[in-house]
Symmetry: D2
Subunit: 166 residues, 4 copies
């Protein structure tokens, strides 16, 4: 790919506390400041906050929605490029696949599925205040914990650069 | 649905220790003895063992494979009805959706994604020696732990009966 | 695959005239008499008629539904094994992929997409009173026309046997 | 949606004659000149030509690829935002769904499936030298024929404006 743009997936739930909203918006801002495009599920909560932050800094935002159209799946107002998958939550694998790295923030069961897909498909995975999971024989440390939005973005970009294009 | 057959999804990894293989085969046997059909991912490991057990007791087995055909995704030899999805691991959501209850045995990251889908789509979920996961605000006890194959099957059938058809 | 069962996909629309219903039911009967399992989209119209015919002769029927559950996508009452894809009409590719041959009967735009998928994925394709389509450089004769349900079933089985497992 | 950008899907085959390549590039140029973003399958042939034309005029291009990563599905070099679906050709429905209108140029069986999806999901559909198809009871004129790239783009934009956001 000749494209210079790095695309980072941000995953998280449709509901966000004020604190989680602030973290996600800051992740969006930091990604855009560094020239990254955000891909996410295009909905509310963490998805809206990260898009809001990215757009505030002039970044591009792509939302891969579950429904067939904007009536069924309204994109949040900060999604620049809505993709209507019509696949329901089966679209979660695509969100993880479309990032050169994946940042998980908070999240519900959908986020847990996207974490699993990032691990299945070997995408670098950074967690900011998100799920814990464990099973013998599987290295839970493949999810690298970050302690701030800046730290999450720096770790995601560094991991994506080490890995190259997806 | 007029169909009297109960369909139970069994999820687990492509590799299985002897002990896990034994558990999965026994789950298959118990499901078939009670007249249930098994749906799974159709591959090796836990999937093969559960199909082997079910077929040994005369049960039906459906395998939803990731690939487009048997060359790309060979079904294990105990899959009676192979469904070729061509969707890769995005087919995981369908495995969970197609069971009136879901039994998770052991498992890797694919299993973690299927656990998440069972929770997203509100399927009763029984765990037999499988992933632990936790996040504040989400009730990890929605995965009900079983302590034997018999216990897992009894809990799955009871939950499916309480819930009705999916 | 050790499985002796041949699986044939039957595609067609959710609405069927009396004449089309009769053709589809007869295709289902003929498939079951010859020991074949039917896979289809699980809905009404042609899908219901082919399942009705197959079940009347003791055959197995698998329906790959668009929705997440029976409330959203009620399987017709002759579907023995409902698979809930949750993928909407994106599930059409799976219906074509899961047959060792594909029989198209009548049909609307969904059927046209399934015809295209049978051609994309190189499944033998038999048409019984269905779409015509043409474009220079593409051999429309890859859809083999049949003139009766018996003829359609014989051509489908012969083509599947020549080709082997999918 | 507050987004002012109109997204138009362009569908066509992985191989293109010189003449088809010229038509597709011109469609891309005309879309970009009018401020539209192109969504396509991200591959070679018509997809590459339409992206090349759009990028030459400063337009945005989104490619929804069949594979899991750039090794498996290299995006053409004019795709600005690659989305890796991992769904194989089942991704075709998403390409049609993600356009406020769909322009079909030339094309093989994949294009025929995308034409069917545009009709299933009621997207305005413009054809430039593409498939013919017919079946009693289905109005083939829902595919509006254009006689030049300019005509195709004008008809697509006008239809999308009449219809509103997807």
């Amino acid at each position: 790919m000749m494209n210079s743009t790095m695309i980072i997936a941000v995953i998280g739930g449709e509901e966000a506390s004020d604190e989680v909203d602030r973290l996600a918006e800051e992740v969006g801002r930091e990604l855009a400041k560094r020239g990254c495009t955000v891909v996410c599920g295009g909905g509310d909560g963490v998805m809206e906050a990260v898009c809001r932050g990215a757009r505030a800094e002039g970044g591009h935002t792509i939302g891969i929605l579950p429904g067939h159209n904007a009536d069924e799946s309204p994109p949040n107002q900060y999604v620049e490029f809505p993709i209507f998958s019509g696949l329901g939550y089966a679209r979660n694998s695509m969100v993880a696949l479309s990032g050169q790295a994946v940042i998980a923030i908070d999240g519900a069961y959908g986020t847990l599925s996207e974490i699993a897909y990032a691990l299945i498909h070997d995408r670098p995975l950074i967690g900011l205040d998100t799920w814990h999971f464990a099973y013998p024989g599987h290295d839970a440390e493949r999810l690298v914990r970050a302690d701030s939005p800046q730290d999450a973005v720096e770790k995601a970009i560094a991991a994506a650069q080490r890995r190259g294009v997806p």
